[in-house]
């Protein structure tokens, strides 16, 4: 405490009042002497003797004053402030150097800070729920494949009832659904994400409606009228104020529900949900253990950790496996923290980007170290003079480090400005479905991070010149001319080592970027099995509640499609539930007859409902048989069209046309195969085509009420939307439509690879530019150092061409060493990329050839200018220095 008080008093002394304190001390000494002399005189000494005795007893006043001065203020702070002022003066005196250095630093710090702010928002910041670390997701785990998936209702109830590790566990599902509010002219119909939920959902997440209430137990029972809770945003959008939403009706998929609550701003779990409704309105939950229709969240009991919960759930899973082998064989339970689960798809990409941007900073630091080293060599005489007049080595090193810190702080300031814009661009560039990305911003932690990396960076790049100082030999430094002094082998080796490291790191970056670019090109070149150009799509959903209403509802499409076909510029029109990247349903299929026992291990196919002409519209070739037509109605014999993959697997060397096939999409009717179509990569370009069964929409009215209307135009697809919207509204105003083009939708399937490729490409380019600057710096320096030697060579008859080759050879030596080391690093680093590569191996030879080409070219360009300068060395001038 007392020490602290003293420290503050001294801090006050540091900040001001130095002169007064000093005068005060002089007066005190004066009075001390006077008192002493008075007393000596009283004891009978002569005036002179009295004075001498007093002075002697007092001792060295200057020495005391020195101690007092240190004691009054904080000497460490004092010299730091002095160094800092001096450092800023030095930086201002040398604007070319300073601007370059600050630019490089700002780039490195800015890029890192921007990346970190994204990583923090997405990966690090805790969720905004109460005690978020206790919230976990529970999923079915198929032990054979390691695949995690949704949960069946009976499994959930067993998990819920048999486990003790959880305070709450809740089952929910979610889907995009058209929702209408209001009536008559003020009807608003829009697509929103809705989540049917059962009991304990809000308790699990620790969320309370801030207006209204949660669902009652009665509302959650089958047979009740049900109810809805909406998000703050939805309430404001639809009713202008949260309070006004209470008691209003919201129509979800044809069912009218009363709004009983509004949840706080920012709560949208799962994903982007705006409406939560009682799942009871859809009737009983599906009773089969094989129907994995639900998702599950749980809240861990206080003090229970993830491993304990996982162990308990694994035991329950094993019990169920034994009890229900037909449905639960090889099925276990996976428990994961909700946050980890949400971001698992992006974790690797983001961490990779953070690492890449870290490498850029390291290269930037190497560059700065090089620049400072060159300056330190130039300042050898200044430093030697300081040392000669009594500055300790520690003091000089401290001053150089302070200069680095000053540089880093200025760099951090501009870096933060850069990071602010950088983070915004990152958010704009990132794939749209990265969770929590919108929370990205510069906050205290991000500032701390920026400051932290700046200081670390300043130590890294400030160390080299400081080390150099420790080796300066005072005698020779003072005696010799600036240019020759201090060109110690240590500094030279350090500079070359730094450049080699820069080149090596660039090689790693360029190789990684090259592999990702090649993967992206491969991804975009993949033949999806459709012709995506000139297709407009409208996501639609016709409200229906039962089979009967659905049978009437699908006539919306029967009416709409001919209307659209009649529009000018339209070539084909159809409707489908599958486009690449989006499938709606899949499950087991059976050929010829249904087995007595459903076997869950039988092969799977994707189920797709289409209208006639959908294949022609999408450009899927009909290979055999016929397309669906208007005769494939609900009352006609059921028909199906299969894809090539299914034909090959189920009917090898046979003709599938006329055979029967069964699947449990919505009915178990036998379907006669009438055609075979080409394969489509249903899950996007990175996937292989899977077996697929297409079924006519009139025979499967319930799934058939949610079709994407696809239109192939002969004009630009974008211009069609207005005319289409008008036609659709004329047929039925209650059906909301979401327009896009096939090409837009396909672009989304490669959004993540494109994002990381773009970023890594930018970072790699930055790395190469910085390395280029590094090579340029070192070669310029080398040319300056070797000017005498070059002059001598030229005087003895060397041609300018030979001099050029001499310098370039030295540059190539550096580049070669960097490339060899870089190759070793890249071999290790690119292995981390394996999961992100597509159609290219981490050791792709072509990529590496390109890398060598790029890096060598950069090194040659960077050393060409200094080499030209060497060619123009005037032998006479150079020799005169000797």
């Amino acid at each position: 405490m007392r020490k602290l008080r003293a420290w503050f008093v001294r801090l006050g002394g540091f900040l001001g009042g130095k002169r007064r304190a000093s005068q005060d001390f002089a007066k005190e000494m004066e009075s001390h002497l006077q008192l002493h002399i008075d007393e000596n005189r009283r004891q009978g000494m002569s005036a002179e003797e009295a004075r001498r005795n007093a002075l002697m007893k007092l001792g060295g006043v200057a020495q005391t004053e020195e101690i007092l001065r240190d004691r009054r203020s904080l000497p460490a702070l004092e010299s730091f402030a002095q160094d800092f002022r001096f450092a800023l003066r030095m930086l201002l005196k040398n604007p070319g150097f300073t601007i370059t250095a600050v630019l490089i630093l700002a780039l490195g710090i800015g890029a890192n800070t921007a990346m970190f702010s994204v990583v923090r928002a997405v990966l690090l910041r805790p969720l905004a729920y109460s005690q978020p670390d206790r919230i976990v997701t529970l999923a079915s785990l198929w032990k054979r494949t390691g695949h995690k998936g949704q949960v069946s209702a009976p499994d959930f109830h067993d998990w819920h009832d048999q486990s003790t590790a959880f305070d709450h566990m809740a089952m929910y599902s979610n889907w995009d659904v058209p929702v209408t509010v209001g009536s008559g002219a003020s009807t608003i119909a829009e697509y929103v994400s809705a989540a049917p939920i059962a009991s304990e959902f809000f308790e699990t997440l620790g969320i309370e409606p801030f207006v209204g209430r949660k669902f009652t137990d009665d509302e959650l029972k089958v047979g009740s009228a049900g109810a809805a809770i909406v998000s703050d945003g939805f309430a404001i959008r639809s009713f202008s104020e949260p309070q006004l939403a209470l008691g209003k009706a919201v129509v979800v998929d044809g069912k009218s529900l009363e709004i009983v609550g509004v949840v706080p701003l920012g709560f949208h779990f799962p994903e982007k949900t705006d409406v939560w409704l009682t799942s009871s309105v859809f009737g009983e939950e599906t009773p089969s253990r094989g129907a994995h229709n639900y998702r599950v969240v749980g809240r861990l009991k206080e003090g229970v950790d993830l491993a304990e919960a996982q162990a308990q759930m694994t035991a329950i899973g094993a019990r169920l496996e034994e009890k229900y082998p037909d449905s639960n064989k090889t099925k276990s339970v996976a428990v994961a923290r909700l946050r980890d689960d949400m971001v698992s798809d992006y974790r690797l990409t983001l961490l990779l980007m953070l690492a890449a941007v870290g490498v850029v900073l390291v290269i930037a630091c190497a560059n700065l170290a090089n620049m400072l080293l060159a300056r330190a060599v130039g300042r050898t005489r200044e430093i030697a003079i300081r040392a000669a007049i009594g500055a300790g080595r520690g003091r000089i090193v401290r001053q150089l480090v302070t200069e680095s810190i000053a540089l880093a702080l200025v760099g951090a300031f501009f870096g933060l400005i850069l990071a602010y814009w950088g983070a915004k661009s990152l958010v704009a560039l990132a794939p749209p479905d990265v969770p929590r990305l919108s929370e990205t911003g510069i906050d205290g932690n991000v500032l701390l991070f920026a400051l932290g990396i700046s200081l670390v960076a300043s130590l890294v790049f400030g160390l080299a010149p400081a080390l150099q100082v420790l080796r300066v030999d005072l005698n020779s430094a003072l005696k010799q001319s600036v240019r020759r002094a201090g060109g110690g082998t240590l500094a030279d080796r350090l500079r070359r080592g730094l450049v080699v490291a820069e080149i090596a790191l660039s090689v790693i970056m360029v190789a990684s970027a090259g592999l990702l670019i090649k993967s992206l090109i491969a991804l975009q070149d993949v033949q999806l099995g459709i012709a995506p150009e000139h297709i407009v799509m409208a996501e639609t959903s016709v409200p229906s509640v039962s089979l009967d209403t659905a049978k009437r509802a699908v006539h919306y499409y029967t009416q709409l499609l001919p209307e659209l076909r009649a529009l000018p510029g339209v070539r084909y029109v159809g409707g489908t539930t599958m486009i690449p990247g989006h499938t709606s349903s899949n499950g087991s299929y059976y050929v010829d007859h249904l087995p007595a026992n459903f076997d869950i291990t039988s092969p799977n196919a994707i189920f797709t409902v289409v209208t006639p002409d959908a294949f022609a519209t999408m450009g899927i070739p009909l290979q055999r048989g016929r397309d669906f037509n208007d005769g494939d109605t609900y009352d006609a014999p059921f028909t199906a069209i299969i894809n090539e993959a299914l034909a090959r697997r189920a009917f090898p060397d046979q003709d599938p046309i006329g055979r029967s096939i069964f699947c449990g999409l919505d009915s178990m009717n036998a379907m006669k195969i009438v055609g075979v179509v080409g394969n489509v990569r249903q899950q996007g370009p990175a996937s292989e085509p899977e077996a697929e069964i297409y079924m006519p929409y009139l025979q499967h009215p319930q799934p058939g009420t949610n079709l994407r209307v696809v239109v192939r135009t002969s004009t630009e697809p974008g211009v069609m939307t207005a005319a289409m919207r008008e036609k659709m509204r004329a047929v039925s105003p209650d059906v909301p439509a979401k327009f896009s083009t096939m090409e837009q939708s396909l672009a989304e399937t490669v959004a993540t690879p494109r994002f990381r490729t773009l970023l890594l490409g930018i970072f790699a380019a930055l790395a190469v530019c910085l390395a280029l600057a590094g090579v340029y710096g070192v070669m310029s320096y080398v040319v300056g150092q070797r000017a005498n030697e070059i002059g001598l060579r030229m005087a003895l008859g060397a041609s300018p061409g030979e001099v050029l080759r001499l310098i370039l050879r030295q540059a190539l030596g550096l580049a070669g060493a960097g490339i060899v080391i870089g190759f070793l690093g890249a071999a290790a680093a690119t292995r981390l990329l394996t999961s992100m590569l597509f159609g290219v191996k981490p050791s792709d030879p072509l990529t590496y050839v390109a890398v060598v080409g790029i890096v060598l070219a950069a090194a040659l360009i960077a050393s060409y200018v200094p080499a030209r300068r060497a060619m123009r060395v005037d032998p006479m001038v150079a020799l005169r220095y000797e």
Binding site: R2, R5, A6, S31, H36, L58, G59, G60, L68
Partner: protein, 114 residues
């Protein structure tokens, strides 16, 4: 200066506090003289070294200072014990007493043997 100064400063501070307690407000010269007299010839150092110790005590809040007139009409800076200083003196005197007692007990058998 090193370790010796630290020990000296530690005990010097205690002597200063005790002196101020005994004699009331006093100037630097007076304190120095008093310490010298009390210790006899054993402690004979430069009076100047007293002043850093005074500054330290002042910064820690154990004493404060004020310019005033000496008995023979000289201007002098007078130091005065604060309440915190009085407490500190009691505490340190006690600790010092204990230390010396322990040391005395520790050293006495050795003396007997020799």
């Amino acid at each position: 200066m090193g370790d010796k100064a630290d020990v000296w400063q530690g005990t010097l501070a205690l002597m200063v506090l005790k002196t101020l307690e005994m004699l009331g407000p006093l100037h630097g010269y007076g304190i120095a003289r008093r310490i010298e007299q009390t210790s006899g010839d054993l402690l004979s150092v430069n009076y100047g070294t007293l002043y850093p110790a005074l500054l330290k005590l002042e910064q820690e809040g154990y004493i404060d200072s004020e310019w005033g007139q000496s008995e023979n009409n000289r201007k002098a800076k007078y130091y005065r014990l604060t309440r915190a200083g009085r407490k500190q003196l009691a505490k340190e005197a006690k600790e010092w007493g204990q230390t010396t007692a322990i040391l005395a007990r520790f050293l006495s058998p050795g003396e007997e043997q020799s």
